[in-house]
């Protein structure tokens, strides 16, 4: 090796760094943000045999919500559903199983399997409408609908049993210092707290407004708002005794202002995710429950065909669709499980008191998921439109990838914050997430624009590209049933 003589000065200054002050409390791993993804991360790392004995600190900005009383939950009836639910896919379930959380959920029957998806678009006519509802059934359990709070509760239950995990509630991280090289540790400071914490690996799972993300050197965050809100509510629907899939059907309508999803919680109860314009969301918020139900039923049933024939966006949309098509449909064009049926949309008969709320929707992509001693998981790294129900599934996939990489590198004697392992995680996670994010965004652009000349544009597009709606919906099908189930297509 070639050596030069300026070495001495260099490491004299470095020795000072090495004598880090003892007022900081050290943990091997610090996870900021105890949402679903952060909690799954903590559990997964604690259960990883290779990481056994490593100390983990979970910093959650919110209070300790000691309200997940599963037994109480089981004995009360449907009116206790929360309005935030997730459609979780197969690989998410495997992850939750591996940390012992899924068993808690399924033993108590707190999840509901989706056996069939029914998708239709607005506009009726030849190209779609309820008369052309497209259905996908799902023999090997496409997805389960679970309340977010149930997933969180089951994860916290597991976390509380892990000695290696310390949870600090009401601990909002307001300062992160990331090192320039791995010779230093990462430090975080909590708002109103005197202590700062030091760690070999900081994992940011602090949601889409991530503090950790913005601390990463050279970070580029690509984001935009969709100008839409998701209106959520817990609904009672009329149960259809003739429906063999009663209680297990997920409906999704691509309405003019955006997709409208009705996800089954049980025979009579569903969860609503209704994407619509800001103005419409505000209008809906002002309605009383009965008016809201009427507006919703109108939205679910046939809409009058728009006679606006402005087709400006057709070309754009055509390009996007063919891109997405190439990505997802070339591989497998002869799938015949989907059939067109004449079916009726669900009829909403009630809305659970105080279950109505709405959330803004946006897109976000962190170009760097990792840096020196830092990694991002979940919404901190990526935020997508909920139309394909993929947000948290992507986050759980990050958890799987990151724990795999850490496991491998630690078994080979690496420091837990080793940059090479983190870079491997970034590559693997982005390879999985980016196509899904682009696909979902493209579908949103086509179907979900508040521009009312988009639906006719789709009609033209269908003619242009030589597709029937059925085929173009197979994009969604591909997204929902292959990529969406998290298994290799």
């Amino acid at each position: 090796m070639l050596l030069n003589s300026s070495t001495k000065r260099l490491y004299l200054s470095l020795c000072n760094v090495a004598n880090y002050s003892s007022s900081k409390k050290y943990y091997d791993i610090i996870i900021t943000g105890g949402g679903m993804v952060g909690c799954a991360m903590a559990c997964k790392l604690a259960k990883e045999p290779a990481l056994r004995g490593m100390s983990i600190l979970l910093l959650e900005g919110g209070p300790n919500r000691n309200q997940y009383d599963f037994n109480a939950k089981k004995n009360t009836f449907d009116n206790s559903y929360s309005n935030r639910v997730s459609a979780v896919n197969k690989s998410t379930i495997q992850l939750l199983q591996s940390v012992g959380a899924w068993q808690i959920i399924s033993d108590l029957g707190l999840c509901n399997v989706v056996k069939e998806m029914r998708i239709w678009n607005s506009g009726g006519g030849r190209s779609g409408g309820v008369n052309n509802m497209l259905t996908f059934n799902n023999d090997d359990d496409l997805a389960y609908i679970v309340e977010n709070d149930i997933i969180l509760g089951a994860l916290y239950k597991q976390i509380n049993e892990e000695k290696s995990i310390t949870v600090n509630y009401n601990s909002r991280v307001n300062q992160c210092n990331l090192p320039d090289s791995h010779k230093d540790l990462a430090t975080v400071k909590v708002a109103n707290g005197e202590t700062s914490f030091e760690t070999s690996l900081l994992i940011g799972s602090d949601g889409y407004g991530s503090k950790v993300r913005s601390a990463i050197n050279g970070q580029q965050y690509i984001s935009w708002e969709y100008g839409q809100r998701a209106v959520v509510a817990t609904l009672h629907i009329q149960s259809d005794e003739d429906d063999i899939y009663k209680g297990h059907v997920a409906w999704q309508k691509f309405a003019q202002l955006g997709p409208l999803a009705v996800l089954p919680l049980d025979n009579k109860t569903c969860s609503l995710v209704w994407t619509t314009s800001y103005e419409e969301a505000n209008r809906l918020a002002e309605l009383n429950d009965n008016e809201f139900i009427d507006a919703l039923n109108d939205g679910l049933s046939e809409e009058k065909e728009s006679n606006n024939s402005s087709l400006l966006l057709a070309d754009d949309a055509a390009r996007i669709v063919s891109k997405v098509l190439n990505k997802y449909c070339q591989l497998n064009n002869n799938d015949n499980q989907n059939r067109k049926i004449k079916s009726t949309p669900p009829v909403v008969i009630g809305v659970i008191k105080d279950s109505r709320a709405s959330f803004p929707l946006g897109f976000g992509h962190a170009c760097q998921y990792v840096g020196q001693r830092v990694a991002l998981v979940g919404d901190a790294a990526h935020r997508i439109h909920p139309l394909a129900g993929q947000g948290v599934n992507l986050g759980f996939n990050d958890v799987i990838e990151l724990s795999d990489q850490l496991n491998h590198s630690v078994l080979a004697g690496a420091d837990i914050g080793d940059l090479n392992a983190l870079l491997n995680y970034e590559t693997a996670a982005q390879r999985h997430n980016i196509p899904i994010m682009l696909g979902v965004d493209a579908i949103q652009k086509i179907y979900g624009s508040s521009n009312n000349f988009v639906p006719p544009a789709i009609t033209t597009l269908i003619r242009n590209v030589g597709l029937s709606f059925c085929q173009s919906a197979s994009i969604i099908k591909k997204l929902l049933s292959d990529k969406a189930s998290g298994l290799p297509v």
Partner: protein, 234 residues
């Protein structure tokens, strides 16, 4: 220099990214020789209580990895600067058994015959002029039945191209680091080990390195670089 050595983005990143492969090569070798306790297989304690000598440890990239897996590791290197850097960096390890000595293998062997379970010498042999003397001294430090692990580039047109031309042109390797003529072929190394050092060769595996992605991989061909595991006769 210190930054230069330990910066994982620097030119010596090749040594960092080599760790997963060479560490698992050592673990697998020791597992095959039944030196690793069953309860420790597949854990962070896989090298618990195993005494290892890392000859030509440099800044300690490999030495530290071995220490993190709970071995008792001693790193020796003739370069004083590198040993200081290694010592300094080892402060980041908590409660591990790691020791660095600024001495040559000739000096080390005088008071450490037959005292190690394993000797590791990775990316060093290509710098050594007297390979025969170096290897016999290494093996003398080894307990009977102990394992010797070596990684080194082959002396072929491929390694000449990759080390001298590509490596030095694109700055992956500091200029003048290697004298290609000193490189040793696997069969030459094997015959020194078997004939002069009373060792059995357990395995020889080909290695390749892609400097553009900074990734190492195992290959069937030893044309560029290779790893060898030999065991001292009992």
């Amino acid at each position: 220099m210190k930054d230069y050595w330990w910066n994982s983005n620097g030119p010596l990143n090749a040594l960092h990214s080599f760790n997963p492969l060479r560490v698992s090569f050592i673990i697998n070798g020791l597992t095959n020789m039944k030196k690793i306790k069953t309860k420790n297989i597949g854990t962070r304690q896989s090298l618990e209580n195993i005494k290892i000598l890392d000859v030509g440890c440099g800044g300690g990239v490999l030495t530290e990895a071995l220490a993190r897996l709970d071995s008792h590791v001693t790193g020796i290197d003739p370069s004083k600067e590198l040993i200081t850097i290694a010592n300094d960096h080892a402060k980041f390890l908590r409660n591990k058994n790691i020791k660095y000595l600024n001495e040559s293998i000739e000096e080390h062997v005088t008071s450490n015959t037959e005292s190690y379970d394993a000797i590791v010498t990775s990316e060093v042999l290509e710098h050594v002029s007297n390979k025969y003397g170096f290897l016999t001294n290494c093996v003398d430090c080894l307990k009977p039945g102990g394992s010797l692990f070596i990684t080194t580039p082959n002396r072929t047109i491929f390694s000449w191209l990759s080390v001298k031309v590509i490596g030095e042109t694109f700055d992956f390797i500091p200029k003048g680091t290697h004298e290609w003529e000193k490189f040793i072929c696997p069969h030459e190394l094997q015959s020194i080990l078997e004939i002069n050092c009373k060792c059995d060769t357990i395995s020889i595996n080909g290695l390749s390195y892609n400097p553009f992605t900074n990734r190492w991989s195992w290959t069937d061909s030893t044309d560029v670089s290779y790893a060898i595991h030999a065991v001292k006769n009992t």
